[in-house]
Amino acid sequence: MAEPKVTPELALAHGLNADEWERLCNILGRVPTYPELGIFSVMWSEHCSYKSSRIHLKKFPTSGPLVLQGPGENAGVVDIGDGWAVCFKMESHNHPSYIEPYQGAATGVGGILRDVFTMGARPIANLNGLFFGQPSHPKTPHLIKGVVAGIGDYGNCIGVPTVGGQVFFHPCYDGNILVNAFTLGLLRADKIFRGYASGVGNPVFYVGSKTGRDGIHGATMASAEFSDETEQKRPTVQVGDPFTEKLLLEACLELMEHDAIVGIQDMGAAGLTSSSFEMAGRAGSGIRIELDKVPMRETGMTPYEVLLSESQERMLIVAKAGAEESVKRVFTKWRLDAVVIGEVTDTGRAEIYWRGEKVVDMPVAPVSDQAPVYDRPQKEPSGLEERKRLDIEALRDCRNPEEALLRMMGSPNLCSRRWVYTQYDQSVRTNTVLGPGYDAALVRIKGTKKAVAMSLDVNPRYCRLDPYEGARLAVAEAARNVACTGARPLAITDCLNFGNPERESVMWEFARSVEGLASACRELDTPVVSGNVSFYNETNGEGIFPTPTVGMVGLLEDVGLRVQSFFEYAGDAVILLGRTRGHVEGSEYLSLIHGLEQGTPPPLDMAREKALLGLLQVLAKERLVHSMHDCSEGGLLVAVAECCLKPRGGDLGASISLQARGKRLDGLLFGEDASRVVASCSSESMQKIFDLARDRGLEATPIGTVIKERLQVLVDGQPMADISLRDLRARWEGGFPSLVSRV
């Protein structure tokens, strides 16, 4: 195939604007070759270069005494003591998952797993955040089934348990679903591998699957809006092979036991191009590659295609000179290709040859880290002020709390996720202490008493109403979920999913969200150690709600002190930690019952939140509670109902008695005031808990007793609900199957 002539128009078709074209011509001092244009287009795509987000992301706190590796590498690493560290990151695979849900979601899991094991960590837990359109949208059931099966099949096959996550439905995702995949791995703190191509003369190995034509320009696709022509982009979605990834994982970890590796990096978005440029860029070195040595599974591939292929399950390894044989021995054992395709140089340039002819000759640094940086204009979205106003007095108050509760428990955003998580292997590797359905997942670290807690959270509705506060609430909720197990929140990773950054209102939402995350993480002392930005989640000009998914990781020093989320013993006291003001604005209740998404998110007092997080850890440590459960979407009554429905059966109910003290019923029962937790404890522990709460300036209120068989609610002595657990469970479990069976 003849290569097309490189012109500004061709560059434009590659997503490079006139300024960028001029910039790249200046860098080269000439017009680029066709492969060079391809390299520029992917390296300077939004997806790879973070050109619209970079100046904002600088606001994140990224360091701390426990941070061994912050952003900028394949994944972040945090010290958990005794010589151990955890490596984690979250990444989006939104665009491919909408176009081809099964493969899109599967390769999202594959990619994030590679990001983690390339650092030298063995992946021990996966989580995922899924955001779908309204259940009645004709595509939704098909997308759910494909995404869940894709995530399951990949993680299950490779043998990494999926232990938690989040599923959220909203019409704003009708044309742009979100698939955010999180992986956490375990490694020795002094054995971190990084993506450095250093040491002149060191061999550059290509290992793993062969290269095909799949996924060419996937990164570029993820850097543009969808339109009606998107269906034609199906070939840009990669195809996953978890079996090969399992072999690659074992081979890489085995090789890491030998003293053979200088640097290693996944060939993810933009494939061989980004891995080679980024590795050389970090080391300040140069790299020479003989492209025709790359193992290919198709004939007639061009240099352009080999450079830009996003075929999965491939890695680039810079080995120590002389260690070639050990690399080959390990990969041969696992029946994978391991081929020397080049070497490290000191020229500061990427020189790429094809059958002896130099087809690329570019300086590394300007391409890898001097991509254009944009401070894109921002403007508050029109109509936001009106959206934030809600005349609550004009709304009729809840008249039948029992009916409202049952309706909420069966609703798409609150019903049981059992249909989803039973398709994921949750227990392989025998570490899962608390799996899906708990406030946070808890995975023990073998050979120690420690366990790691993880939770993914964001409420896009809050973020839509106030992106700054919404982002802060996401961090707070994730930390609270982690602390509900007794663990101490340590650090976060994030997936920032937004619309088109070239629209001022989207950029405003993005900037405010980043500021919110940054301030919350600073105040809670949980730095951002890794993450990912996904823009252009728009179809025909309709963007998604701002969705900054937060992945919080915490440490429980003694797994024996863990606390679970459900009522344990009949006769226990039920207490509410935190203050109820009755904030119904922006809530699930308001959306579901009144069809309104207005008002402000619940106010968050971070000092109070921090005090609560401390209290939860003390209650666990002192063994004062039998259960702790975060109170968030759906409010107090939903939180109590959730405490009744245990993942392993043996449901216990509660008799709850509340004082309205002038509050509206909807606010009291379903308001979403922040920084609240429902706990259960023996009556002997109660006073101690109240004292500890008071010492921290926190409210703690007895609200009832754990009983068998029913959930009963009184407000000011008046019966509001009396539901059998059987009915409650039927509603809650019936929600999801009914929504996926709709065709």
């Binding site: 096959c157 079996f243 090969t244 398709q423 227990s427 025998t430 202490v433």
Partner: protein, 238 residues
């Protein structure tokens, strides 16, 4: 008792199977790579779960034809003990050591959840220390666990009391809604004719520690160890 754990490319419960006896008896088993033929003088061979060869072609089909399986078949014929768990059960069926096949779950999806098993016979080394009707809780995690065999085979299994475990309700009764994968006659695990080869879809090695929610799986390995020590070492080849 000596235990060996086989590792195929794509096995992913091999670590769990390895740690199972290690945690219970404090003694590490041997690891055997699929391309090798040396079972390392094992009395009991564990074929762990996972996705050997990525489940390509048919679950367990390629692993059943690997060099090490010829040795496992010979070991079984000499009266050696074998447990195949999940993918290990599929491999045992594919290699002909156990009858029948594991079809796709009737939900057509992967299923990972805790099930209740009822012990159906104590006439086997793996269940000798249990009581008939004992209920054991442990997880399943498979896409193809729907046991199937022809009528004649089923009759044989029933007549010879070779069904080791059935899926039951928490109260211990066989019921369609508790037979999640749709297995014929709610069969969760079966024995070979000489009762020394056990294949089962549920994962006892994941249910042998209170921290993980159940210790019921430990009973199976403990029973096997007791029986093997009592019956004497397995005769070795060469």
């Amino acid at each position: 008792m000596k235990i060996s754990v086989i590792e195929f490319p794509g096995s992913n419960c091999d670590h769990d199977a390895y740690e199972w006896p290690l945690r219970m008896f404090g003694k590490a088993p041997e690891r055997v790579w699929y391309a090798d033929r040396d079972l390392k003088r094992a009395d009991l061979v564990i074929i762990p779960g996972g996705f050997s060869y990525g489940d390509y072609l048919r679950c367990g089909a390629m692993a059943a034809r690997s060099p090490v399986m010829e040795e496992v078949v010979a070991h079984a014929k000499r009266g050696g003990y074998v447990i195949g768990i999940c993918n290990g059960f599929q491999i045992l069926c594919e290699s002909g050591l156990l009858p029948g096949a594991l079809l796709k779950n009737r939900t057509l999806t992967f299923l990972c959840l805790e099930v209740v098993l009822r012990c159906e016979t104590t006439n086997a080394p793996f269940t000798a220390s249990l009581r008939k009707g004992d209920l054991l809780r442990m997880p399943i995690a498979h896409g193809d666990g729907n046991y199937y065999c022809d009528e004649k085979t089923l009759r044989g299994l029933l007549d010879e009391e070779r069904v080791a475990f059935r899926y039951v309700s928490p109260e211990g009764r066989v019921a369609d809604e508790w037979n999640f994968n749709g297995s014929m006659d709610a069969i969760a695990g079966i024995l070979s004719e000489n009762r020394r080869v056990l294949g089962m879809m549920p994962h006892p090695e994941r249910a042998s520690e209170a921290l993980l929610g159940s210790t019921d799986g430990a009973a199976i390995l403990r029973s096997a160890a007791k029986a093997i020590d009592k019956n004497g070492k397995v005769e070795q080849n060469g």
